[in-house]
Structures are given as structure tokens and as C-alpha cells.
Symmetry: C2
Subunit: 244 residues, 2 copies
DNA sequence: CGATTTGTTGACTGGTTTCAACAGTGGTGG
DNA sequence: CCACCACTGTTGAAACCAGTCAACAAATCG
């Protein structure tokens, strides 16, 4: 491989990529650009001509609510592609913000037709990941709609771990969490105050330990049964993909 | 057209369908089958070999929560395709239930490769609708995560109307709602008791009127501003689709 | 007509929000 | 080097929205 692409690494996790899939991906990652922590890379209502591959750092997409609060609808990690949900619209539906210093590969939406016409395997994979996201979102909807604050936090941590494990299999149970409690509350539909209380409670019960921007999951099984977590990230069914 | 397909009608709303798209759809609607109200057409954990086109009647998909409650994650109307979110998995993630007497067209998941290889326009359209669903779901997430009960009900009604209008443009502001309040509470993450209270409150304020399984929206503008509703159903950007 | 489902209403409870004060941390400039 | 400020996390007290439990009314069905 010409360079170390976390997008390639993440996608290969699901299916061995054909050469033309690899070529298509390389074409999406031609350009690179850095953004500082806190930068709003695009705003709601911007025309969306670009998608982005994440090279480095965490970002998130959020919507502003009429009462001034925010709902963070997606957290983006290295190896993710940002912008698919919006391609059916002319305008962005969310604000994209860098949670820390990041490096992105922007590519025009129009380049996707190249994927669809030249790399059917990659097209099918992207489609499968898009529809899987619906399932992940509905899981999350259950968490936000039906669970208590500490259960939601458990869910949040387990979901992050499941995602990070795709890119980094031998990951331990400790990981960096470059989001503050206000941001976490905007993900989970809570207040920063109650996120603080619930985190403290989980720590007091010995389920997790926090240390300066990192989280260690001490009792993964208990967290899983606390929120009935199902890992939707680990595997997908690729049997129906078109054969090369 | 050989028969009156609401799937064709719904998809044509977005883009004029090419002949090979129409042929592909016809192939998905070969078989028909009826189910009675209340039937569980498939359960969570069933192997998912079939998808379904809805011909007639409403259905919904729900997940059982560990405490015995349910979360309804999707309501299916005539002209919808049921099952896309699960195609990346070997097993169903939700239970599919008929909200009233329904008629479905089951077709095997494997038939989709035919769509991908023979009808690129249809493939792109289905992809666009799938990713758009993510946006709709995140909108809904905001409603469930951040809004009061009466705001959620407003959102629910407006979303239904927006969907029904795709299939039936000259629809008035009155529509049939074949779901009971317990089912609505399972959609919105509320209790049946509070759904009742909130409905009554909305009616008392003159925003809606109910009559025996139908709802009339009296003050659509007020409902819209109450929950900051955005209609994501009306139009999609098809400019990037592959040309025939 | 009785039985079941569905919707309504009341009283009480409780988890989360709100408002507020305060502590710890890091960064900045004088 | 320290004063100052912004940001972040913590804790307490009070208020409130929605849940829970329960009884009952209304509609539907066989």
C-alpha cells in the first residue's frame, strides 16, 4: 500500500478489497488538509459539495436546536467518511466541528459516480455500511429514548469502544476520550451536570475509571448488561455483494 | 403500467424512472401475500432472507427492551420497502408487525444484486433514500432526546403527514392513524398515559382534532414552529445520479 | 350482553433539569 | 512569577416533567 490509510484498514476489516476498490479509495484521499481544534469545518445550510475522509483526530456533527441547545448526531473517527447522510440534500443538515486538531481528505461528492461505475464492490460495501448505520442509530434511539442517564453513559462508552476496535483490534479497555462533559451531554440528550453525576456514580461503583481525558472500562460485562449493548460494528454480511 | 404500484408511484416522485428501473421494480413485486392485523411477520433473530414491498396497510418494526417495553423504530406505509436496515446482518434486528390488515410483496434479498447490476439508476435512488433515512432518524433523535411530550406528538404527526404526502399529493390535513396510544408511546419513548394527556392538551389548544382513528391538523404552522419541523421527505438531490 | 381493548383522569413518586456556587486546571500577559 | 481569565468538572437545593399505579369510562367485538 502506497500510504497508511485508515480508511483502507477499516474497510478491509469487512471484506478483502479488490484492486479497483483500492484505486477508487486512493482517488478519494488525494488531498489533505488540517484544521485546528474547535474549527467549524462547515455549517448548517452550507452547500455540500465535499465529503471528507478522516485521517487524524475526532470530529462531530451537530444540529442546533431552537432553544439554543445542541444535539450531536455523529462522532467521526479516523478512517470514517463524513457526509454521506447529506448527499441526498443540497444543503448541509448539520455543523461539522473538530473536537481536536484533525487532518481530513476532502473530495467532491461528484467523485462518487466514479465509485458507482468502476468499483461495484466498494459501492456495495458503502451501501451496506450506510444501511447498517440506520440500525446503529435506532439502537441509539432506544438508549436516548428509554434509558436512564447512567445506562446511556454505559451505552456511549461501549459504542465508542466497539468502533475503535474496528480500526485497532488489540485495543485495551483504556481509550482517549477527547470530548468534554458538555459535548457528551449533547450526544446523549442530558445536561452536563447530570453527565458529571452519572460518571461519578459509575466510577464509584467500580465500573469505570477516568484519568485526565482517558477512560478505562473496568467491568465491561457489567456495562454491557446494564444497557443491553449489542455490538453492530464487528461484522457485516457481505455474501450478497456483487462478485468481481 | 401493468398494475397500480405504490412503490413506483413513490419512487417516481423523486426522479423519472428509466425502463430498466421499472422492470427491476416489477420483478420485486411479483408475489403477493396478505397478513391479518396484529400478525408478527418476522421476529428478532429470524434469519433475514426476504425484504418486502408494502402494497396495502400500515406496519411497524420494533425492538424489545430488556425491561419489557418496546421501541418502535420504523412505521411502514404502502409503497415502502421493508428490510433495508437489516441487509448488512444475518439476523433480523427488529420484529415486524402488521398494525392493520396488510398486503405485502416479499422478495429475496438476493434479488437485489439484479438491481445493482442492471439498474444503476434505481440502485443510486435506493442508496440516496437509505442515507436520507439517517438524516430523518437523527431529526427524530432530537425530538425524542430533547423535546417535551406535546412537542414530540407534534413532530410525530407532521412527519406522518410529510410521508403520506409523497404518495398522495392532494392529501388534506385529515388522515387515518391506525395506531393506538400505546403504540404511539412506543414510537415516541413516552407512556400511553402521557400520550393521552398530551393529545388532549393539543386538542384543547385547538391545534388538532381527533375523531375515531383519524386526526385532523387544524394549525399546521403552529405545530411546525412548536417542534421546529423540517420536511426531509419532499425532495432529494438526484443531480449526482449516474446517467442512463 | 359480557369481555376485552383502548382511552381518560387523579394522586403520588422520582429522575433529571435548573440555578447556583465553587474548585481545579491551563493559558496568557504584565 | 504571579494575577487573571476561561474552561471544565463537581456538588447542593429546589422545581418540574413525565412515570407509575390505579380506577374508571368508552368503544369494540364476539
Amino acid at each position: 500500500m502506497s500510504h497508511d490509510s485508515c480508511l483502507v484498514q477499516k474497510l478491509s476489516h469487512y471484506v478483502p478489497l479488490s484492486q479497483c476498490s483500492l484505486d477508487s479509495i486512493a482517488c478519494l484521499e488525494r488531498e489533505e488538509r488540517d484544521y485546528d481544534r474547535g474549527t467549524e469545518i462547515h455549517a448548517e445550510g452550507d452547500s455540500n459539495t465535499n465529503l471528507y475522509v478522516v485521517r487524524q483526530g475526532w470530529l462531530y456533527s451537530y444540529a442546533d436546536l431552537k432553544d439554543g441547545r445542541r444535539q450531536i448526531v455523529e462522532i467521526h473517527h479516523p478512517g470514517d467518511i463524513i457526509g454521506f447522510p447529506d448527499i441526498a440534500f443540497n444543503e448541509r443538515t448539520t455543523v461539522l466541528k473538530a473536537a481536536e486538531d484533525v487532518r481530513l481528505c476532502p473530495f467532491p461528492k461528484k467523485d462518487l459516480d466514479q465509485v458507482f461505475s468502476n468499483a461495484p464492490q466498494l459501492a456495495a460495501l458503502l451501501f451496506a455500511l450506510a444501511v447498517r448505520n440506520q440500525v446503529i442509530l435506532t439502537d441509539f434511539l432506544q438508549a436516548v429514548g428509554r434509558m436512564s442517564a447512567r445506562e446511556r453513559i454505559a451505552y456511549f462508552l461501549l459504542d465508542l469502544m466497539a468502533r475503535l476496535r474496528i480500526a485497532n483490534k488489540p485495543m485495551s479497555t483504556t481509550f482517549r476520550l477527547p470530548l468534554n462533559q458538555t459535548e457528551i451531554s449533547d450526544v446523549l440528550g442530558l445536561t452536563n451536570v447530570y453527565v458529571s453525576r452519572s460518571f461519578t456514580a459509575l466510577q464509584k461503583d467500580g465500573l469505570i475509571r477516568r484519568d485526565n481525558g482517558t477512560v478505562e472500562v473496568l467491568e465491561e460485562d457489567k456495562l454491557i448488561s446494564l444497557c443491553d449493548f449489542v455490538d453492530r460494528h464487528a461484522r457485516i454480511d457481505t455474501s450478497w455483494f456483487p462478485k468481481p
